[in-house]
Subunit: 156 residues, 2 copies
């Protein structure tokens, strides 16, 4: 996989703001031809650098309750627990971490009942979870995939 250059990052930055901006417009904006933008985007997709998706507003979908849950797993079951958790549609993020919790997940629910049911019935049925530390989201300030920056990648 070739290293991303300035043009690639500019394309990503534009698509970050509007994932459906036409190649022709991006081309015009960057002073390149449509074909160039197209071939670059095709390559970026092929290299798995990004995907076209949508960002729904959970509130508008009726998912009024969001939570971050820190999990402590029994030694040796971290991986299987993480994979099990990843299958749930209400779980949007699962990661293994160093620090207080072995796993940290983020999940969305319609209401508190659904969250309680998830913790008490779903989580308890997964073998290997020792403890769950639930933090309820009170207000969301920022939530995005917008981490494309055009600054220099540090020399390793």
């Amino acid at each position: 996989m070739r290293k991303l250059d300035h043009v690639d990052k500019q394309i990503l930055q534009i698509l970050q703001e509007d994932g459906r901006r036409p190649y022709t417009e991006i081309a015009h904006q960057l002073g390149l031809s449509e074909g160039t933008i197209r071939s670059r985007i095709t390559r970026l997709l092929q290299d798995g650098v990004f995907q076209f998706v949508i960002h729904p507003d959970p509130e508008k979908l009726g998912l009024h309750v969001q939570a971050i849950i820190g999990l402590t797993t029994k030694l040796g079951s971290q991986n299987s627990v993480a994979e099990e958790l990843s299958k749930f549609p209400e779980v949007r993020f699962v990661g293994a971490f160093s620090g207080k919790h072995d796993l940290i997940i983020q999940a969305c629910f319609h209401n508190n009942d659904e969250l309680i049911t998830f913790v008490n019935e779903r989580l308890s049925q997964i073998e290997g979870i020792a403890a769950a530390d639930v933090s309820l989201e009170l207000k969301q300030y920022k939530d995005s995939f917008s981490f494309v920056r055009d600054d220099e990648v540090p020399i390793q």
Copy 2:
């Protein structure tokens, strides 16, 4: 804002998988006309139900270090701290929470140095942060905005 119906959710589910699928194809897939898909998507966008974005792979962008940081703020400064943090491009998530930490953020860095600099120099300069509890991501299992489900919204 009208309530989302089954067709809206189906459209969102399709776009979740491929944010660039043409209206014509969605229409064909759902047995509706292109115009219907177009007007529904236009309305959903106008109502702020979702946005077209891209999901970059942080690793492919050279962002090899991700962290979740739980913050304790001084009484009264939670909001200003959150807003300040939201301005950082490396910070992709900021939320106020009940539980152990007042704020929880998620951020991406090129390397450990960048993370250390962020914690020691950026965070320390923000007025109102009492403590920061850093968890380093060791492995990512799931990360998506795919929380559109087509099950029943519970009766409140």
